[in-house]
């Protein structure tokens, strides 16, 4: 028995379903999300505020409802992002590991099929992602980058809005785990 199995949930057991995905989905969806972030903002610069790899991490984590799996998903996607930047490897990895773990933990307590909650997941985890990254950069690397709070709030809302259709599209790729 783990600490989460013993904790109370707010959803009936029949809705606490665990979903699985085709192995290709695990690879292609994060890859497309990263490529989107690499390629699309070149033409539509305002879309650079979209953190699709983060939303994909959150989605896979909440659908699997397994915190270790969520943490691992976040870790791999974050490291892939790190490899394409000039920063140290592990910065996005650590942040997304924490996000994946938290998202999976939340999914054990709440009905993540709810649209309102999905919007909040998108908003909240984006803000948490940005704050965590900023805090880690300050504490581990000693950088003095500024955290633009108004920009972050607006971008969080944007990510929350985008999370709704994105999660619905990704819902078509899931199948119930046995």
């Amino acid at each position: 028995m783990t600490e989460f199995e013993s904790s109370p949930t707010h959803i009936p057991p029949d809705r606490l379903r665990v979903w699985s995905f085709h192995p290709a989905t695990w690879i292609l969806v994060p890859l497309v999300a990263i490529l989107f972030q690499v390629y699309v903002p070149r033409f539509l610069s305002y879309l650079s505020y979209l953190e699709l790899p983060l939303l994909v991490t959150v989605y896979f984590s909440v659908m699997r409802r397994q915190p270790p799996a969520g943490a691992l998903t976040g870790c791999l996607i974050g490291l892939a992002q790190d490899a394409l930047t000039h920063h140290y490897l592990g910065m996005y990895g650590i942040v997304k590991t924490l996000i994946g773990y938290s998202a999976a933990s939340l999914s054990l307590r709440f009905d993540v099929d709810n649209a309102g909650l999905r919007f909040l997941l998108g908003c909240g985890f984006f803000a948490a992602h940005q704050v965590l990254y900023w805090a880690l950069s300050h504490s581990l690397l000693g950088t003095h980058d500024a955290l633009h709070v108004p920009q972050t709030v607006i971008a969080a809302l944007l990510n929350g809005v985008v999370a709704l259709p994105l999660f619905q599209v990704l819902d078509r790729l899931k199948s119930e785990a046995r």
């Binding site: 028995m1 490529l35 979209l50 490899a83 930047t85 000039h86 592990g90 924490l98 581990l140 980058d145």
Partner: protein
């Protein structure tokens, strides 16, 4: 122990992942660890896909255009509407092509003027991250690109190469956090350090008492040994006194619009910071000097031809004042009046002055006003001794001004 791990299985997994990544991070920081292999794999895996996407984008752009143009139109109204849409799209495509061609042309011209050896490059895409300000270029280590090289456009500095891979390289824009370049202002030669803050740039290290104007341009000073001296940076957008010196905001001119083509300076050569241009002169037409008055010029020519009085100036009158002085002198002499001798008799300055006794004075006085040929030199300005012999041959029947006076 097993019970502890099984009880806190989730937390253990999380801690293991975090610890692993923290160790990786610590190793990189401690030993300036070379994770190049992982990065090369990642970039090499992504770059072909991005290149393919670019090719698809260009291809489908043409297909979409053809699809729009081949649509069957049933009613005139619908046809006209679609036609308008087609033309709009076409217009946008053409405008984009024109803009791209213009940018390329401007970059080419700038490159030809640049004393540094440079390499043109195209931006492929962004590095991951929200507003990372880091871009992939289509040039890599085989092209001679090295980390730290300056990246410029025709409008000024754009950024700096921060990582190089075989198939691509990463540049950090001047507005990115972490970017720094040594700059100096054009007018007051105020030195400072340009830093990116994510959205724009600011210049640090300028004391409050140092002079700097809003709108004044900054140029690279070359002190950072990354950017050669003399490259444009951008104008000062705002400047105000602060606690630790002036707070100066600068918008890099190269990043004002969309950039897709840049130049990487392979072999940077320092240049000069241009001086401020002098204000352009207003468009004013200035006429040529007026022609000489014929009577005066005749007298002047006569005076020039006559031998100089003892102790007097033998030079030909050069100015109007000189000519007037000569005229009055001859008037006085012609009336046999001695100035300053009592009893004083006032000369009549309304009378014409007496001509010089020699024939030289007849040279120019015979030509009536208004008959001078355009382009011909003014008679009075002819050198003494040259105009005198030639003029009588031209108009032998005319009388001299002295004879007319008599």
């Amino acid at each position: 122990m097993d019970g502890l791990f099984s009880r806190y299985r989730n937390m253990s997994a999380l801690l293991a992942l975090l610890a692993g990544q923290l160790l990786l991070l610590a190793w990189q920081i401690k030993s300036d660890g070379d994770t190049r292999l992982i990065r090369v794999w990642a970039v090499t895996a992504v770059t072909p896909i991005v290149r393919g996407l670019e090719a698809v984008r260009v291809g489908t752009g043409g297909l979409a255009q053809r699809w729009f143009m081949a649509g069957t139109l049933e009613t005139d109204n619908a046809r006209l509407r679609r036609r308008t849409a087609e033309l709009d799209i076409r217009n946008q495509l053409l405008a984009e092509q024109l803009q791209q061609a213009g940018r390329a042309q401007a970059l080419l011209e700038f490159r030809s003027q640049l004393s540094s050896r440079s390499l043109p490059a195209t931006i492929l895409g962004n590095a991951p991250g929200v507003q990372s300000g880091v871009f992939f270029l289509d040039r890599g280590s085989p092209d001679g690109v090295k980390r730290g090289m300056a990246v410029v456009t025709g409008d000024g500095i754009a950024g700096q190469v921060v990582a190089v891979y075989p198939s691509a390289s990463l540049i950090m824009l001047a507005t990115s956090q972490g970017f720094a370049a040594s700059v100096t202002s054009q007018k007051h030669r105020t030195h400072g350090l340009l830093k990116g803050d994510g959205n724009s740039c600011h210049v640090e290290g300028i004391r409050n008492e140092q002079a700097l104007d809003e709108g004044e341009w900054f140029y690279t000073s070359g002190d950072d040994r990354i950017f050669p001296r003399g490259l444009r940076v951008g104008p000062v957008r705002s400047v105000r006194n602060g606690a630790d010196g002036k707070e100066v905001e600068v918008r890099p001119a190269a990043l004002d619009g969309d950039i897709s083509e840049v130049l990487i300076l392979l072999d940077a050569v320092h240049g000069q910071i241009p001086d401020l241009a002098t204000p352009s002169q207003p468009d004013v037409q200035v006429l040529a000097p007026p022609p000489e008055d014929t009577h005066e010029s005749a007298a002047a020519a006569a005076a020039a031809a006559s031998p100089a009085p003892a102790g007097g100036s033998s030079a030909t009158p050069q100015t109007d004042a000189d000519r007037m002085k000569e005229r009055y002198k001859r008037i006085v002499e012609g009336q046999n009046i001695q100035i300053g001798v009592t009893p004083y008799r006032a000369p009549d300055f309304n009378r014409q002055p007496a001509a010089a006794p020699s024939g030289a004075g007849t040279a120019t006085a015979i030509q009536p006003p208004g008959t001078a040929q355009p382009g011909a030199p003014p008679t009075g300005s002819a050198p003494a001794g040259k105009a005198a012999p030639s003029a009588p041959k031209a108009e032998p029947k005319r009388t001299t001004s002295a004879q007319e006076q008599r």
